[in-house]
């Protein structure tokens, strides 16, 4: 009898404690003064920064200890100047009174990429913008994405640390001066195939900006006062007569497009006249060869109006434009003056509801991709249901694996991270046929690339979920080595 209350007391008061050591991945030597963070693991948020619940500094022997943590699932992350940041290892579970020791966190020494930006005379260009880009994959295939950027220092120099080994492209552009572009100006220069080896520094990279003859394009949007006009990364506001101007254009083909969404906001500018701006959409493509252009005309018309009706429940709807801009209407479910563009429809239904179908003008909207390029206004009909099923399973021995649920119809997958025992659970799954893929460590963007994903279709587990069905699947882990081997074969 006495033993029972004692046991309970022991469980309640035993401190949850974990300890370990941080070492260099290259030498194995302990690292002092590293910051170790314990983060609460959340399965449903791959790629999201997790909340830190406790942190500690390592001592002279690289040791750390964390105590007094509530039971739950956690990840350990570590950082130290001079080393690549470790954003978190495999998740693990801590029960009340657990004492876990022997954690080893390995930090990879950083490679330094340093150089300077020069002008056409070889003089330093302070405040030049330097971007480090590397190849990433998306649904559309291979593309370059900026992963680090900085302004050059007083002597035109730049230093980037914490870059993982790999092949990079460095893009340097002249500083923004705010002055109208001259006839000749410094233009951006790209240095491709900069290779960083593990632990190896690359210093003394010289990027010479080139001087180029640039041109100006002036034009008009008849009846389009106070609009925003985009041209690549440039933008210009039209004046009272609808006139706009872009400077600093290199020879090439450009498209100038009015932005009805942004133009609408102009009427709220403080201190300016608050005459409502008619949201107009139009575009004009022009070619700059070796002269200024003065007579560009953009014929603009009203944008597309969209309303949404939701059947079977309540939901928030956000439209995501091609350029990533999110358009939310504060729950009114009505949008006016949308550019005739393609939009991804994000529907966030109330708890335990799912999106059964989306229709626009009586036709189904496939993969939530709404095509308004025809310029016709209309109604979006969204049907919700709450008879979703459930898919549970496990990836053996793979805590933290990226688990994806792909529908037979296509579109982006649902994804989450496997828990401490490799377990996963997809809830509120619309009835239908699915494939489940589990990846050891992969850039989620890469899995969107159909050509890459197709190589692993054999590893997918297939499952059919009925209304309120409860299914179990055993997912097969796609190993790091297999992923690397397929990446090497990509175009």
């Amino acid at each position: 009898m006495r033993s029972v209350p004692l046991l309970v007391a022991a469980v309640c008061h035993a401190e949850t404690a974990l300890s370990g050591v941080v070492v260099s991945a290259s030498t194995g030597l302990p690292l002092k003064n590293a910051t170790v963070s314990l983060k609460r693991f959340a399965a449903a948020t791959p790629g999201l920064e997790l909340p830190t619940v406790a942190s500690a500094a390592t001592d002279f022997e690289g040791r750390f200890a964390l105590a007094g943590v509530e039971p739950g699932s956690y990840q350990l992350a570590a950082r130290k100047p001079g080393y690549v940041v470790d954003r978190g290892g495999s998740p693990f579970a801590l029960a009340g009174g657990d004492t876990k020791s022997g954690f080893v966190v390995k930090l990879t020494p950083q490679s330094i990429l340093a150089g300077s930006v020069l002008d056409e005379d070889g003089e330093a260009v302070p405040r030049a913008h330097v971007a480090v880009r590397r190849a990433v994959y998306t649904a559309a295939g291979r593309t370059l994405a900026t992963i680090e950027q900085a302004a050059a220092l007083a002597d035109g120099s730049f230093v980037f640390g914490a870059l993982p080994p790999g092949r990079y492209t460095i893009l340097a552009s002249p500083p923004q001066t705010g002055k109208p572009p001259a006839r000749e100006m410094l233009v951006e220069t790209e240095v491709a195939d900069v290779v960083l080896t593990p632990g190896g520094d690359l210093r003394g990279l010289k990027i010479k900006l080139r001087m180029a003859r640039v041109f100006r394009a002036r034009g008009r949007v008849p009846g389009g006062a106070n609009l925003i006009v985009h041209c690549g990364e440039r933008s210009s506001a039209t004046d009272g007569e609808g006139r706009f101007e872009f400077g600093g254009l290199l020879p090439g083909v450009y498209t100038a497009t009015t932005d009805p969404t942004l133009s609408k906001h102009l009427q709220f500018r403080p201190g300016k006249e608050s005459r409502p701006v008619q949201p107009l959409f139009g575009s004009a493509t022009f070619t700059v060869s070796n002269a200024d252009i003065d007579d560009l005309v953009i014929r603009a018309r009203r944008g597309v109006d969209l309303t949404a009706v939701i059947a079977g429940g309540r939901a928030n709807i956000t439209l995501e434009r091609d350029d990533g801009m999110m358009l939310w209407d504060a729950g009114k479910n009505a949008w006016t003056g949308l550019a005739p563009d393609r939009y991804l429809v994000h529907v966030m239904p109330a708890d335990r509801y799912y999106v059964k179908s989306i229709e626009f003008g009586g036709f189904p909207v496939e993969s939530s991709m709404l095509d308004l390029t025809a310029g016709t206004s209309g109604q979006l009909r969204i049907e919700l249901a709450h008879d979703g099923g459930l898919i549970a399973g496990a990836v053996p021995d793979a805590p933290g694996a990226l688990v994806q649920l792909w529908t037979a119809a296509g579109g982006p997958p649902r994804e989450l991270l496997a828990g401490p025992r490799g377990e996963f659970l997809f809830d509120v799954v619309p009835p239908g046929d699915y494939r489940v893929l589990a990846w050891e460590a992969v850039d989620p963007g890469l899995t969107r690339y159909a050509l890459f994903r197709s190589r692993f279709e054999g590893s997918a587990a297939t499952v059919h979920v009925g209304e309120r069905g409860q299914e179990r699947v055993a997912a097969k882990l796609i190993a790091r080595e297999a992923i690397a081997a397929e990446i090497a074969k990509l175009p």
């Binding site: 100047p81 001079g82 950083q110 330093a124 220092l153 007083a154 120099s157 230093v159």
Partner: protein, 510 residues
């Protein structure tokens, strides 16, 4: 009679608009004499106000491959001609030193000034590295290159350039004039491991106190390398307590607070609790942050332990009601003594009431009074205010009465140099007023309270030194004396102190 009037009108009408003027010249390197292309040259309308109004009156021009520039179509008048270029220090035409505007140029109608040469001094750079106690790089440190300033009447260090240490711990600060500098580095708390010891602000080479900092001598156009700062560590402690409403001891929720001069703080929780992490030992003031409807301040001393159980009573602060007699335009401002412009409150005369003031001493300044008026006297709670400072440290407010008299005098005169700094200060006071002499060396001070004054001119003077009374005192024998009576108009022709004499005396200050 009628005819005559008409004729006059016709003559006026027929008078052509004044002819435009122009300037041409070259920009060269002060170091090599070589022409500098791609330099920006601009004109600014001359004003006797010392400051620079950053709006160029004429579009900027860029020098060509031979360093030449040409500014056509300038309205006749007095101008400051200036040039800047990447890698060089800004330079005013005719100024012997960089970063100052130089004497004004007078352009007659239709006149073209030729062969103007602007000599640009190459920038100096300081290179170095920030490391920790193991000589490992410390990235993300705020690095400041500092110089001595006398602004506000006392010696202190101000930023001459800033940078952040890079991922390998290196830093570079450019755009420096030749001179003596100090370098400090500070690692923000968020980029330090959570330990009971933290890196603290450290001066080159490894000093915790500015008094022990080693200077870095920087020559014109020099690249000074190897300025390595080894960050010092200090034990740090936690300060915890509760903020309560002073009147009824209930929790004071969501009050923003600051620990000064550390400059860190936060917001109290719903139950009034607050916590400040990682405080090095020292004496501090726990204060409510500005722009709130409360004000309070208590001293905190951190020695060798965490400070627990601090009770921070929050009150409304003091209210000062300013009544200005004898003027109905202008403004009055209060600034806590020793604080920057971000702590300054300014209100228009006429119902100027300052609420929620901290229990500290405030400096008063009155601006924009009608021309020819001056502040004859100030009283607070019925007692005269001396040195423009009102002490609220007892915590209570009251009426601040400002007496304005319309009987101010003026002093005008002429010196032998255009564009020099002319100063006037009361014979028994510390605060000087400054102006710049015009194209013919003329100057004028108005709205002067009656009294005895000293007047002196400087070929050019650092804004900072201009307000340092001990520096001026060294030249008191050179100053002209002038007595200004009520509504008096006096003339003065003071001496001009040359740059080398100024530099020699400034050197003695160190």
């Amino acid at each position: 009679m009628r005819f005559l009037l008409l004729l006059t009108a016709a003559v006026c009408f027929a008078q052509p608009a004044p002819e435009k003027s122009a300037l041409t010249g070259r920009v060269v390197s002060a170091a090599t004499g070589a022409p500098l292309k791609k330099a920006t040259v601009w004109l600014e309308k001359f004003s006797s106000e010392r400051g620079v109004n950053n709006a160029p009156s004429v579009p900027e021009v860029i020098t060509d491959a031979e360093g030449r520039f040409h500014i056509p179509g300038v309205e006749p008048g007095a101008y400051l001609l200036q040039a800047r270029r990447t890698g060089y220090l800004d330079q005013g035409y005719g100024s012997p030193v960089p970063d100052t505007v130089g004497p004004p140029l007078e352009l007659g109608a239709g006149e073209t000034k030729r062969d103007l040469v602007l000599k640009l001094m190459p920038q100096s750079l300081v290179y170095g590295k920030i490391v920790d106690e193991d000589n490992d790089p410390a990235p993300g440190a705020q690095v400041a290159v500092l110089r001595v300033s006398y602004a506000g009447g006392h010696r202190h260090l101000v930023d001459a350039g800033m940078s952040e240490s890079q991922d390998d711990g290196s830093f570079v600060v450019g755009n420096l004039k030749p001179g003596r500098y100090y370098v400090s580095a500070f690692l923000p708390n968020m980029s330090q491991p959570p330990s009971s010891e933290r890196h603290i602000k450290t001066f080159y080479p490894s000093a915790a106190d500015a008094a022990d900092a080693q200077p870095v001598e920087v020559a014109a156009g020099a690249e000074v390398r190897g300025v390595a700062i080894r960050l010092r560590k200090s034990r740090v402690f936690r300060v915890r307590g509760r903020a309560v409403i002073a009147a009824d001891s209930t929790p004071a929720a969501e009050v923003s607070f600051l620990l000064q001069p550390l400059g860190r703080g936060g917001k109290t929780f719903q139950d009034g609790r607050f916590e400040i992490e990682a405080v090095p030992p020292g004496s501090y003031w726990l204060e409510t942050a500005p722009q709130q409807v409360v004000a309070a301040r208590i001293p905190i001393t951190v020695a060798e332990n965490d400070v627990e159980g601090v009770v921070f009573p929050i009150g409304n602060g003091a209210m000062v009601d300013c009544k200005v007699r004898g003027a109905d335009t202008g403004s009055i401002a209060l600034t806590p003594v020793g604080r920057g412009a971000d702590s300054r409150f300014e209100l228009q005369i006429g119902g100027a009431r300052f609420y929620h003031l901290l229990p500290v001493a405030y400096e008063i300044d009155v601006n924009g009074l009608p021309k020819g008026s001056y502040v004859k006297g100030i009283t607070f709670q019925g007692r005269p205010v001396v040195d423009w400072t009102v002490d609220l440290s007892a915590g209570s407010g009251g009426d601040l009465i400002v007496e304005v008299s319309p009987d101010a005098g003026e002093v005008s005169g002429k010196i032998d140099q255009p564009g020099a700094v002319v100063q006037i200060w009361p014979a028994d006071g510390a605060t000087a007023r400054s102006t710049r002499s015009g194209p013919h060396g003329e100057f004028r001070f108005d709205s002067l309270p009656p009294g005895d004054y000293r007047v002196l001119a400087w070929q050019d003077l650092d804004d900072d030194l201009a307000q340092y009374a001990p520096f001026r005192a060294a030249f008191s024998a050179d100053a002209s004396s002038v007595h200004v009576g009520e509504r008096g108009h006096e003339r003065a022709e003071p001496r001009t102190i040359a740059l080398d004499a100024i530099a020699a005396e400034a050197a003695k200050l160190k």
